[in-house]
Amino acid sequence: MGVLCLIILALGPRPSVAMDADPKLSDPVLQETYERLTHEVRCLVCQNQTIADSSAPLAADLRSEIRKMLAAGSSETEVKTFLLDRYGDYVLYKPRFRASTAMLWLAPLLLLLVGGIALRRIIQRRADLPVPADDDEGSPPAAPSRS
């Protein structure tokens, strides 16, 4: 029961601590884009936080920069390109697929493939093994009758 509760808690929506004290953008669509973006951008000062969660001064600067760009009509892609040009792929929690990030994206698939092939071979080999004929050998004779 306790374990179940923990699982439910872990899967449920987590309350996010907003470090963002700035007023919202007037356009609700832009505000939504802004919130989505800031939750995808890594704060490089504290690395395991998004800039939406981080209280680092740099995160605040980046939030205000993103807000300015969106208000000035920049698209989501333009904002991401802006950040990538300056901070590199690491700044996005979901990095682009490129030569340098290919392993990151493909490793899980490759491992699954290797595991699948290994599993298949093991199953096949087991299936090919002769069924041990242990009907009358090996098993202790059932109470020999001395008649």
Binding site: L44, V45, Q47, P57, L58, D61, L62, E65, L84, D85, R86, Y87, G88, Y90, L129, P130, A133, D136, E137, P141, P144
Partner: protein, 209 residues
């Protein structure tokens, strides 16, 4: 007891195929035994190698996409005289260092001696970007500790720092005579880093510092 023995002996003779197949199974198993141990051992070794390499790396060092590209455009008011500016054009025509610092940054205090030494002995032009700092404190810092900089620009808002991809201080950029970013060093500057990372790159662009 006797009855059992006499019973099993003719059994084995009657079914030689069973004995043979059991023997075969055994042999093929011993043939793959080596692999059964070697493959997991190899995979484990690979994993250990990955971890050992990973442990030796500093995750706070993020490679800059600016290296190899033109230094970003900027114009900042100078710390010594806000009426004058320091900008990208000041970097052209010579190899130079752009050092991002602040009086709030302990690593900057740590590297200050090194910067003074470099400015005096290597002759390279060192420029400073004073990042989100108290200007009065910054001026006092240079007065009391010595000033290694040819010019210092004040980046109060941190906007120029974003363009340079700065995410901590101190950071030191090596700029070629054509304004290309040749290298970025994250962490306090040391003479060791200067010799191993900066000098070869300066030599590669064929410029005397």
């Amino acid at each position: 007891m006797l009855g059992q023995a006499t019973l099993s002996a003719p059994c084995k003779q009657r079914r030689p195929d069973l004995a043979l197949s059991a023997d075969l199974t055994l042999r093929s198993e011993s043939g793959t035994t080596a692999w059964r141990f070697l493959v997991p051992l190899f995979l484990f070794g690979l994993l250990v190698a990955v971890f050992v390499v990973g442990l030796g790396k500093d995750p706070t060092l993020v490679p800059s996409p600016l290296v190899g590209k033109p230094a970003p455009e900027f114009t900042l008011p100078r710390l010594d005289d806000p009426a004058r500016t320091f900008g990208r054009k000041d970097l052209l025509g010579k190899t130079s260092l752009v050092n991002v610092w602040g009086t709030w940054c302990s690593g900057c205090r740590q590297e200050h001696e090194t910067l003074l030494t470099l400015a005096r002995d290597s002759g390279i032009a060192i420029f400073g970007i004073n990042w989100k700092d108290d200007q009065q404190l910054a001026r006092e810092w240079l007065q009391s500790l010595g000033n290694p900089y040819v010019a210092v620009g004040v980046d109060q808002e941190g906007r120029t720092a974003i363009d340079w991809g700065v995410y901590g201080a101190p950071e030191t950029f090596l700029i070629g005579p054509d304004g290309t970013v040749l290298y970025k060093h994250i962490a306090p500057m040391t003479l060791d880093v200067w010799r191993t990372e900066f000098l070869p790159r300066i030599a590669a662009v064929g410029a005397e510092p």
